[in-house]
Symmetry: C3
Subunit: 322 residues, 3 copies
């Protein structure tokens, strides 16, 4: 059994690669993926789905529950005509009998061609990838990576704005702990973006993320409030601020309010900007905004399906464009 | 985003309609649905399934567990060649993070073309339908409605007796709390039925249900025992009597026995009548009755699949008859 | 409703038979099944899957969780182009309302063509088979039978060694309580095997299993350690030794170590033998053995899918060979 490189750069060829982190993706790799995703979107809008992965089988292993992500991969596989078994209760079964993560994955992959794994612990998906024979896609490993979320965020921006170059993205909320904003910032650094970080001072973007961008021609600006930032924003990326991160509840309530996106707040925003959120939201965006044509947070989910369809196809050596 | 009418009359056109309550159905709408279901039954019996909904996707969201109903919709979609993701553990995921019902439904529907929702609270499905873009089918909302159950009950009668006009239907058990009998009675009122209500006096059919039928030429008769009623019955519809509804356990045991359907009890019944039950049963029908050709309660499930196949097809603008 | 024979010999014809125990299988029946499974393996390796069971529906009812077995049947059905609904939370639903096992199975089978049942209690699957109309496949009933596991074990040996006649099989571990070794020994007795039983004396193979083989020309040898046995072994079948079966923890630790399969232990083994394990393992086989070409325990899972695909096809009257 020849071991695959676990976390190798995509380097233009997705076939049989594991998709573990966004660090594997060059700008060219993102181009390949997004071309495939755009072609897939067109095809699905016209014909509802494809037969590209007919008879291919995905085992979708969720060691921690995530209805949204598991459903997205599930439908992505089926929309390509493939089969899926989503396993959401692994913990009740062999694992309870003392089986290792590696054995569970190696056993289940025997039935299928590709594996998605979600796990609560950082690094767990890579550990599984070390022994797996089929390509592994990381569906999120705790505070580690969630590469398909980052890629779908970027793809949403590309499809909605029409391009990625030189845009201004404003990130709001808990930027210290928000895995999605860290990954999106990293991807955006390929495109010469201006990044506004709006957060309470306890929850600013960590230096370990911002420092590497300094040499990449990325403008990075920190703010404590949204005022003044919105008129120049192309993408407003909102995240949850979780109360339990604050020492002072009053401070929390005060700040939370300043970040709540309402129709009134959006009066200052451009007509052609978009509003994103990784969901679930718990009040950060007023539901009155849902009917605003700039709201893109539900559509984000659909773009996620196209991106996941494309990744599944590409790691299996297929393309809708051939 | 243009909002759909939430609970609009079908009025001859199912396409893109929500299916929330049987009040939406005119007699003509029932005809359309049952013609489709009868054609579907024929087709499935001959060819096992169809490709009518190939590449269409159903998201089947069960906020409360119901193996039977979720499986019925699941197989209904797949028997039409479509894809399904049944989500039965929503509560463990985003909802636990504080997401609203509306957001959960709007997010998940992005992957699919039609949504089934089951919820423990009356009105919850309508609340979701207010914001949903895809057609929503109510899979039961607590003490509210369960329209597909009522429709499958009526379809079972039609297929087994050959017609619906002027039949005598005897309902037995807990008629006060039984959602299924309320809905079935409402549907039967279109067809000039005679309705016998057999129940203990604590559990009679509520006036709010029986009163509206008085102006529709429906004969309604209350009884405390089955004796004398069976010889004229075309459909015996049995429901569970739950002990905890009674104050007096002895009274419960006494009455329960009088309603137990046994081969002996059925000696008085017509040769061509049928026995129905929404299931699960807990002793109301003796298993010795299962081999009686008049027993229709398991077959009811299969008729349910045909009715659900037909609803899924019609709301998606398709028909097996075209 | 004509009742099927519940546990009838296959006798050359699988169509509409229940698959409840390996006692139903003659040597000829095993031949039929393995020819089908070998043809299926070839087909799946070449084309990923088939359309043999397109539009057929399997209801996969797991009253006790078993991710591996439920996934195997799930993918087996889908790899043949069929549909599946796997039900893993039956206990939360109708059963909780007091429904009998028989009613649950009779209700759910209405939607489908074949049923797989897993249950924690011996005999439960047969009880369901008594009333079921569709063919029932036993997916394991507690300390009772797990016929598809035994058949996949035998098929793995056949495919890996090329034949089954006159081989030497060494079984290691808890042979008293190990359902899999009992069933495999029973199947091997058709082929004139030599069986080595290696176990602590508290956990030897029960006489009720070994006695019937004495008249079938089977050599049976008991050992307490592996030393001396390996050089003549064609198949090393390892099972878990569960600590809680021992009265003396020190004795357990001592014996456990003597049964742990490591690269060093395997130096005495033949070059063309194979190592099997029903999984999950908890230390009985060192992971350093995983890369040894003689390790067959993960591949066993894939052979299981082919065997289950074949059983599903044959009971539904289909064959990939026609």
């Amino acid at each position: 059994m020849q071991k695959k490189a676990i976390d190798a750069p995509i380097n233009g060829d997705f076939t049989n690669k594991n998709i573990l982190s966004i660090g594997q993706f060059s700008k060219k790799d993102i181009d390949i993926l997004f071309n495939e995703a755009a072609a897939t979107e067109k095809y699905v809008k016209k014909y509802d789905g494809t037969d590209l992965l007919k008879r291919k089988r995905l085992v979708n292993i969720f060691f921690e529950p995530s209805t949204r992500t598991s459903s997205s991969f599930h439908f992505a596989m089926e929309a390509h005509g493939g089969s899926v078994k989503t396993i959401e209760n692994v913990a009740f079964s062999s694992v309870a009998k003392g089986e290792t993560l590696q054995d569970t994955v190696r056993a289940l992959e025997q039935y299928a061609h590709v594996t998605v794994i979600r796990h609560s612990e950082m690094g767990a998906v890579s550990v599984a990838a070390e022994v797996a024979q089929n390509p592994i896609i990381n569906g999120g490993d705790g505070v580690g990576e969630h590469p398909t979320q980052a890629l779908l965020d970027l793809f949403t921006i590309k499809q909605r704005l029409g391009h990625l170059d030189g845009i201004t993205v404003t990130m709001v909320g808990d930027l210290k702990n928000g895995r999605t904003v860290h990954s999106l910032a990293q991807l955006l650094s390929h495109y010469g973006a201006t990044l506004n970080y709006v957060s309470p001072k306890e929850l600013t973007m960590p230096k370990s993320y911002t420092d590497p961008f300094k040499h990449k021609g990325i403008a990075q600006l920190e703010h404590q409030t949204l005022s003044g930032v919105l008129p120049k924003t192309d993408v407003l990326y909102v995240t949850r601020v979780q109360g339990e991160r604050f020492l002072d509840p009053q401070e929390y309530e005060r700040l939370k309010l300043t970040y709540t996106i309402t129709p009134k707040v959006l009066k200052d925003a451009k007509k052609d900007m978009i509003i994103m959120h990784p969901l679930p939201r718990v009040g950060e965006i007023d539901t009155a905004v849902d009917s605003d044509p700039r709201a893109a947070y539900f559509e984000q989910m659909r773009y996620g399906m196209y991106v996941r369809m494309s990744l599944l196809a590409l790691v299996l050596g297929r393309s809708i464009q051939k």
